[in-house]
């Protein structure tokens, strides 16, 4: 009986979704706002990557919300795992082999560099703060897996995280004081396609990159510490 009800419900849901999806014109730009961003975005924000100009400038306030969600998740995890006594793990676990250890030491700065490149050049090439931050966190994951016993310092991690958030909100508030509204692009746009262009966009994306990297590395740190 339950199975029949489940199948009937599933059929209704599938029908509803397929009817709704059929109406959406994929691949066409029927919306005015999307067309506006594509045509005017480069001139207005000075960023070559339109995705970045939407994420940080046009929809900057939504990005602040996303950052807040990630921040809350990291704090929640820290509250669950961080409150227990941290065990000393360095002596108990088996040391990884020399080849793995050397490879990790060689790769760790390279991955960090790639992550930093992704978020510093977020306004020119694909990628940005979130992607770069995730790559930076994966470098720390590699370190946790191979160079055992090494840990991110809790305090510096929190300082970087807080500074990233403060810079984002501070830039927004300066825009509110000087210009027309929160996250107003008050700095000069600069020359198109150069590193120092697009006003506050690169500054905010670098702050986001540091914040996301520190948060995700902290999450991994908490989980790995607990799992040993």
């Amino acid at each position: 009986m339950r199975r029949i009800i489940a199948i009937a419900l599933l059929a209704i849901i599938v029908m509803g979704i397929s009817l709704a999806v059929r109406e959406i014109p994929f691949g066409k730009t029927d919306t005015k706002v999307g067309e506006y961003y594509l045509n005017e975005g480069r001139e207005e924000t000075g960023a070559a990557n339109i995705v970045t100009s939407v994420v940080v400038n046009y929809r900057g306030f939504d990005t602040l919300g996303e950052i807040a969600v990630l921040f809350t998740a990291a704090i929640g995890l820290g509250a669950v795992f961080g409150s227990r006594k941290k065990r000393k793990v360095a002596e108990e676990v088996e040391k990884s082999s020399l080849i793995v250890y050397t490879g990790c030491r060689f790769l760790f700065p390279v991955i960090l560099l790639v992550g930093a490149y992704i978020f510093i050049y977020g306004h020119l090439t694909p990628g940005g703060g979130f992607q770069g931050g995730a790559v930076v966190a994966s470098a720390f994951l590699l370190m946790y897996l191979t160079c055992r016993g090494k840990r991110v310092r809790d305090k510096s991690n929190k300082v970087v995280e807080s500074l990233g958030g403060l810079i984002f909100v501070g830039m927004g508030l300066v825009g509110l004081v000087i210009g027309k509204g929160f996250l107003f692009n008050f700095l000069p746009k600069g020359e198109f396609l150069t590193l120092f262009s697009a006003g506050i966009i690169p500054i905010i994306y670098i702050a986001i990159g540091f914040k996301v990297g520190a948060e995700l590395a902290g999450v991994l740190d908490n989980l790995i510490e607990e799992s040993k």
Partner: protein
């Protein structure tokens, strides 16, 4: 050519997704779900969305897999 590549990738992705549901060994299931993420990243790239592809590859294929494996280490590896 692009259509053929995309079709093959989507089929592999479907197989991996079904495998992730079926496997009783949770470690295998996690690896299968990371294959889904990896192929999704490639498809995003083929659809000219490199920003999303980067996020999917870094978060879906790397970090989420690691977090799942850490969780499996703390709990049970095999599903009854």
């Amino acid at each position: 050519m692009n259509v053929i590549i995309a079709t093959v990738l989507v089929l592999v992705m479907l197989v991996a997704a079904i495998a992730a549901l079926i496997f009783k060994d949770l470690l295998n299931a996690v690896i299968a779900s990371s294959v889904v993420s990896l192929i999704a990243a490639v498809i995003f790239y083929l659809l000219q969305a490199p920003d999303v592809a980067m996020a999917e590859a870094a978060i879906g294929a790397a970090l989420v897999t690691a977090i799942f494996i850490i969780a499996i280490r703390r709990t049970k590896r095999f599903e009854e």
